[in-house]
Amino acid sequence: MLVSGTIATRTTVRLSNAVVRFAGDSGDGMQLAGDQFTTQSAMAGNDLATLPDFPAEIRAPAGTLAGVSSFQLHFSDQDIHTPGDAPDVLVAMNPAALMKHLESLKPGGTLIVNSDAFGDRNLTKAGYEANPLEDDALTDYQVHEVQITTLTLRALEGHIERGELNKKEAERCKNMLALGLVSWMFSRPIDETETWLQTKFASKPDVADANITALRAGRNYGETTEAFVFTYEVKPAKLPPGRYRNITGNQAVAYGLIAASVRSGLPLFYGSYPITPASDILHELAKQKHFDVSTFQAEDEIAAIGSVIGAAFGGSLAVTASSGPGIALKTEAMGLALVMELPLIVVNVQRGGPSTGLPTKTEQSDLLQILHGRNGEAPIPVVAASSPSDGFDAAIEAARIALTYRTPVVLLSDGYLANSAEPWNLPDVDSLPDLTEVFAFTTEPNGPDGEFLPYLRDPETLARPWALPGTAGLEHRIGGLEKEADTGHISYEAGNHHAQTLLRHERVQRIADDLPPLEVEDPSGDAQILLVGWGSTEGPIRAACHEVRQKGIPVARIHLRHLSPLPNDLDDLLKAYPQVLCPENNMGQLAMHLRARTLVDVQTYDRVTGQPFSSSELVEAIEALVTEVPA
C-alpha cells in the first residue's frame, strides 16, 4: 500500500529490549541490512547479540525455502547474552521467508512484508496454496504490507532515467529501503549507514547514491505513512565503562592470534585451506600483514597443518584453522605435532556434521573428535571460546599453553560464534599476558657432554627445548617415530614406549596445575542444580539461569574454558550438587566425558538443530529437572 500524506503525532514506546529479524532470499541482501542495523544499535549504546543464518549455497534457487537467508539482532538496555528467542519484528522479503520464519514471530509481533513479492510463482515456490496476505493466516500479528520493491524503484526513477543503473540494479537496493524503514521504527539515525555505503561503494558512486536514496526513502516512508502508529526506542545499556566496538567470533580469534604474536614477539604464520565457517579468519589475517603476519593458502587441509609444523619448527607462532571435515584430514599431522612437541594452534570452527553436514550451521559435535580422534594415545590441550568477543582471550590462552608447554593446542569455536557479533569492551593492550615470559629459544647445548638433547625436559612443565635451525651445535632430527627419553633417538623398546606414553599424558595433565579455580555462579549459595557448559552455549545457559532464579529456582553455573586437561577442582564441584545438567549442541559429548572422569550422573540436554539454544528451551529443561527432585 502506498500512502501519501503526513501525520502529526506518533507515540514512541520505550522498550527494554527487542529482537528484529530480517529474512529474505539469499540475493536480497539481508545479511548486509542486518549488519548495518547492528552497527546502528551498537552506536546507540545498546548491548546486543546477532544470529546470521544463511544457506550453504551461494545462490540457492530464488524464492525457495532453501534459499532463505536471515539475520536476527537482539538489542537491549540491559546486559544480554543471546541473540534472542522469538523476534518482535519480522521483515519478510518474500513468501518463502514468511513461510520459514512466521512460526517463530511472537504472537502480536510486528510483521513487515514486501507485498510485491507475493505473486503466484513465489507463493507456489514457498509452498503456499493461498496468499497469506489475503486470508486470515496473519490475524495474530500486526501486519504491514509494504510494496518494498515498488517503493524502491519509484525512489530510484531518476537514477534509472539518468542511466546510472538499470532496473535490476535499482531493485537490489530494496534491502536498504527495508533497513531505512526499520531504522525509523526504532528511532535510529541512519548517517552511519550512509557513511558506510559511501565507503563500500567508493568506486561506484552511482550505486552508493542509489542505496542511500533507497535507505532514506524507507525512513521517509515510515515517517509519512499512517500505517505505523508506534515507534520504539531502546535506551543505551549500562555496560561497564570503556571503549567498545562490535566484533564477530572469527574476527576476535584473528585479533587474538595477532595479539599473541605481538605479546610473544614471534611472527605469526597462518596456513589454512578455505572452509566454511573458518575462512573469515584467513581473510582477516591476510589484511593484517603489517603485523608481520604470513598467510599461506595451502593446497589442502593436510598441507595447511604441514606448513604450520614447518613454521613452528622454524620459530613462528604457527596456526591453522578449519572446521570438522578439515580437522578430520588434519588428525594425522596433529599427532606428528604432538610427538614433535612443537607449539602450534589448531582452530576448529565447528559446524553441523557428520561428513559435509551443515556447512553454515552451528554445532558443538567435534568435541570428542578433538579430544580423542587421533591414532594412538594422543593427548592435546583444548580450550574453547564462549562468546564472539571471547575468541580474543581464548586465542591468547591457546597461545600461552602452546608456548609454555611446547604442544599443539586446539581452540574450539563454532559457526554461531564465528558469524555473530556483540559489543566488545576493548582490553588495555598493556594488560594482556606477556608471552615472552613463558618460553625461550634454546641457544646452548644442554647435555652433560656438550651435546644437545632435544627431549631433555623442563622438570616443572615437562616442556622440551625449542631449538631453532640456524643455531650451531643444536642440530637435531625429530619425527613421528617413538623416541628415547632425552636424546629423542628412535626407540622401539617396549618399556620406553610405555614411559613416553605416560609422559605425554602427564605433560598435558600438568597444565591443569596452573589454571585458576573455576568460577561458580551460585548467587543464593543454596542451589541444588549445577549447570555445566562449554563454548557458545554460555549465553543461553547464563540467560536461562537468570530466568529460573527469578522464578525462585536456585541454580548454579560453571563454564569450562579448558576441556583438556579439565580443571583440577572440577570433580569436587560436580560432586557437591545433587543434580548436574550439561546442555550441549551435540548428543552429550562433554557429559560423557565428565561422567567417565568423575562418575557423576551428569544429565544431558542435547539438540542439534544447527541453531544455538534458545534460553526458553533451557529454562524448560531446568524446570523439568526440578520436578524430578524428590520432595
Binding site: 565503562p241 566496538r245 603476519v293 609444523i309 640456524g470 650451531a472 632430527r477
Partner: protein
Amino acid sequence: MTTNDAKLTKKDFTSDREVRWCPGCGDYAILATVQTLLADAGARPESTVFVSGIGCSSRFPYYMDTYGIHSIHGRAPAVATGLAIARPDLDVWVITGDGDGLSIGGNHLMHALRRNVNLNILLFNNEIYGLTKGQYSPTSPLGSKHKSTPMGSLDRSINPVSLALGVEATYVARSIDTDRQHLTEAISGAYEHRGASFVEIYQNCNVFNDGAFMALKAPDQKEHNQIRLRQGEPITFGPDNERAVVAEPDGSMSFMDTREAGDRVVVHDAHREEPTTAFALSRLSHNPTGPTPIGIFRDVERPVYDDMLRDQVQEAVDTKGEGQLTDLLSSGNVWDVED
C-alpha cells in the same frame, strides 16, 4: 643457499646414527654424495634442514648431522614449504620417494613445484614400495608383477620428470644413484638454484626390485641407453654418438642416425623459458628400460613464492607502518561508555 668460509668435510654432515638401509641399497651412494657435495659447496650444517616423509629414503635426515624432520607420509613438501616461508636463511631439502612423493603426496609435490618454493626436492625413484616390502609403486612399469600385482599391474606409470615439467618446475634434473659425478652435478645445480628444484634419482632397491635400472647402469648397456643432456650441445648418444635426438613435426621427439639427422639434431638448452621442449625430451622414455635422457632438463629463473610472500609482508609494513595492537582493536566503529 648458505655459504661460509670455514671449510667443512663430509664428516661434518654425518650424524652418529647407524645407517640402517639394507646392505647394497642405492640410498648409501646418494647419502655419501650429498654429504660430500654439501661440504664442498660450503653449506653449513646448522643452516641446513632435511625434511622427509615416509619410506626407506625418508630415513635420510637421521643420517645427516643437520636439522631434520622425519614427517608423515607424503607431506614433506608441505612441512618444508612452511619452514621455507618462515625462514629465508635456511637451505631446506625434501627427501622423498616414488610412493611418498608421487602417490600419497603427489598433491603436495605438484604444488610446491608450481609455486616455486625455495626447496631442493630429491625424489629417490626405485619403482617399488620398499618399506612395506615390495608392492608396485606409481613408477613401476605397466604390467609389473609384485606382491600386490601377481598378474601384473594395471595402471600406467608416472614419469616424474614429465610431471615436474608439466607444473613448470623451474629446475628439473634426473640422475643415477651410483653415478657419483653426474649425481653431484645434478644435485649441486639444485642447491645453486633459487626456487623449487626437483631431482629424480634412479635408485636401486636391491631387495625388492633389483636391477630396475640396468639398462642405464650395466657396462654393456649404459652407453647405448644414457642420453646425456649437456647445455648447449647437440643431443646425441651411443658409444660413438651415432644416435641423435630430433624434433618431429608434431612436437614430439624421436631418435635418428646422427649422420642422417644433420642439423635436425636438437641442441639442449635448459634455460628455455618454455618448458615444452624439455617436456618433449622427457617423453623419450617412459620407464628407463631403453634410451633415457639424464641430466638437467630445465633450469630457469622465476620469482620465488616465499620471497614474494615475505615481500608482501614488507610492503604492508612499508605502506601501513608496523602494526599497532591498539589501532587494530579500535578499528571500525567504536563508542565510549562513560562511568
